[in-house]
């Protein structure tokens, strides 16, 4: 009994410390769209997982759903302090549309890129207007991802080049409501040898970095390349980010599997890549990260596992990452360590990546998965995800806000 009392007091002492260590205080979740029900399926998917963004006073979430029978792209917005989202606005055109990438511009404006009828489409959204849809002429293009490039846009995508997808980057100029394509270049100048897929791009002060999935060694690896300067469309030779498995064995075959890289900038010109990585082949995918090393011969540093030891026995999916100018950095994903899929976070602290944290409100019954996150300038966290109760049942898009706690 005395021992139990001691444990009780110990827990009371430790519990407030662990709550305090958490960098955000979370609101209750709210719905992003009220349109839901039988046979309606929402998807928060895009190369780089850019489905939530904040511009000035506006929070925006972009997703795909089939409310009218066809998969289309929708956008919902709300004021930062508002408790509900406005009605969803249809963004895409008449075709089947998928995987919207959303980026914030200045003064409550946003840009979106998506795949529709095997072509990349783009559009600007202001508080009062929808710009015209711009269609990239090239066919068999998919997996678009956008970045803000000094209030202009960078678009990356995978386009068929013979048998394989190849990564391209295009500078896009914003002229009022109109988007004008400028320079375009292949990110890897060498002839494509196997699939290049799911690219994502970041614009730093003095260069552009693109990362993607690449199957050239006979299995999937993560690769990245950088330009010489911020204006350039010329990339240096790409390098592998995801490290090789420790030794070749029958289990790994040509190599272990990786999937879906995401990039985020944080602090002053710092950059991290995160992805799902199956080097521990018995337990499935883990989330790994690597830091960009400017000025170093090796573009990205050692691979570091993000999730903690408790996550090691579960499988992690759908890595998303966000940073802020003060140096905050947070990774989100979903995993099933508690039975159903829940949204988990880990943030960078003095010891590397923090212990995993199940987001309150995104850890309830049913499947909570496909997170997408963003941080604002003050380090406040914005999270959207998909909720579903059965494997093929209808879905809901959920959102919650985490107010940054001053440490």
């Amino acid at each position: 009994m005395r021992l139990q009392i001691a444990w009780f007091w110990l827990l009371l002492t430790v519990a407030p410390l662990s709550v305090q260590a958490q960098p955000w205080e979370f609101d209750k979740p709210i719905a992003v769209t009220k349109t839901q029900g039988e046979k309606i399926f929402h998807h928060l998917e895009s190369a780089g997982r850019h489905n939530i963004a904040i511009s000035t006073d506006t929070v925006a979430v972009a997703w795909e759903d089939n409310r009218d029978g066809t998969p289309r792209i929708y956008l919902a917005r709300k004021g930062r302090n508002s408790q509900s989202f406005s009605a969803a606005v249809k963004i895409s055109g008449g075709g089947e549309a998928f995987e919207p990438s959303l980026v914030a511009l200045s003064t409550n404006r946003f840009a979106l890129a998506w795949e529709e009828d095997a072509r990349i489409h783009m559009r600007l959204v202001t508080p009062t207007k929808l710009g015209p849809i711009f269609t990239l002429g090239e066919s068999e293009a998919m997996q678009a991802s956008l970045a803000n490039h000094d209030q202009q846009l960078l678009l990356v995508y995978s386009r068929r080049d013979g048998r394989y997808g190849r990564i391209w980057m295009q500078h896009i100029e914003i002229d009022g409501q109109t988007l004008r394509p400028k320079q375009v270049c292949a990110v890897d100048a060498e002839p494509v040898r196997d699939e290049q897929l799911y690219p994502t791009v970041i614009s730093l002060a003095d260069r552009i970095i693109v990362a993607w999935e690449d199957r050239r060694p006979g299995h999937t690896i993560i690769m990245a390349a950088q330009t010489d300067n911020q204006k350039s469309c010329h990339f240096r030779s790409p390098q592998r980010i995801s490290a090789a498995s420790p030794g070749r064995s029958a289990a790994y075959g040509k190599g272990h599997g990786v999937a879906r890289v995401a990039l985020a900038q944080y602090g002053t010109g710092q950059l991290v890549a995160v992805w799902a990585d199956k080097r521990d082949f018995r337990e499935g995918y883990d989330i790994y990260s690597a830091n960009y090393q400017p000025g170093n011969k090796q573009l990205f540093g050692p691979n570091i596992r993000v999730q903690d030891g408790f996550g090691g026995v579960a499988q992690q999916w759908h890595a998303t990452v966000a940073g802020d100018p003060s140096g905050r950095l947070v990774v989100g994903w979903d995993d099933k360590r508690d039975g159903d899929a829940n949204i988990m976070l880990s943030w960078r602290d003095d010891n590397g990546w923090s212990d995993d944290f199940a987001v309150p409100g995104a850890d309830s019954a049913g499947e909570q998965n496909h997170p997408t996150i963003s941080l604002d300038q003050e380090g406040n966290l914005y999270l959207a995800w998909i909720e579903r109760t059965t494997i093929d049942g209808p879905t809901r898009v959920r959102y919650l806000f985490g107010k940054a706690i001053k440490q």
Partner: protein, 153 residues
Amino acid sequence: MRIVLLLVTTLLAFSAMAETPHGYPFQSFDKAMQQAKTENKPLFVYFGRYGCGYCEKTNKEAFSDKQVREAYTKHYVLAYVDSESGKRLRLPSGERVTEREVGTRYNAFVTPVFTFMTADGKPLLRLVGVQRIEDLREADSKVQQLLAKSGKP
């Protein structure tokens, strides 16, 4: 010229071996589900990935068996899912998802994973990792017994 053709054929065969076993009519998950419903047959779903070592091993050492090939081709509609692929499918519910998402939903966290399913997608038996000839034969017998008991395909 003949040598070049032979080399190309060998390479193509090898790359095919890296994903689905030779001589089996594997097809995409959505097409296989449709066919399973139409023909009232159970499904055998192979969750693999590009460059998967244990998939290659199972292909070479177990699926190469003539009896296994005959049983699986006869008893099941065969589906292959690349668990890292962005290829899009239409599920019977009408939902459009990528092959990777199908892998996620059926918890294909390692590869290969083999799932026997009823024609309406209900899992019956799951085999995880590398399989031997006797494993595949035994699994087929179990599933056939289960189906015979339930009276459902």
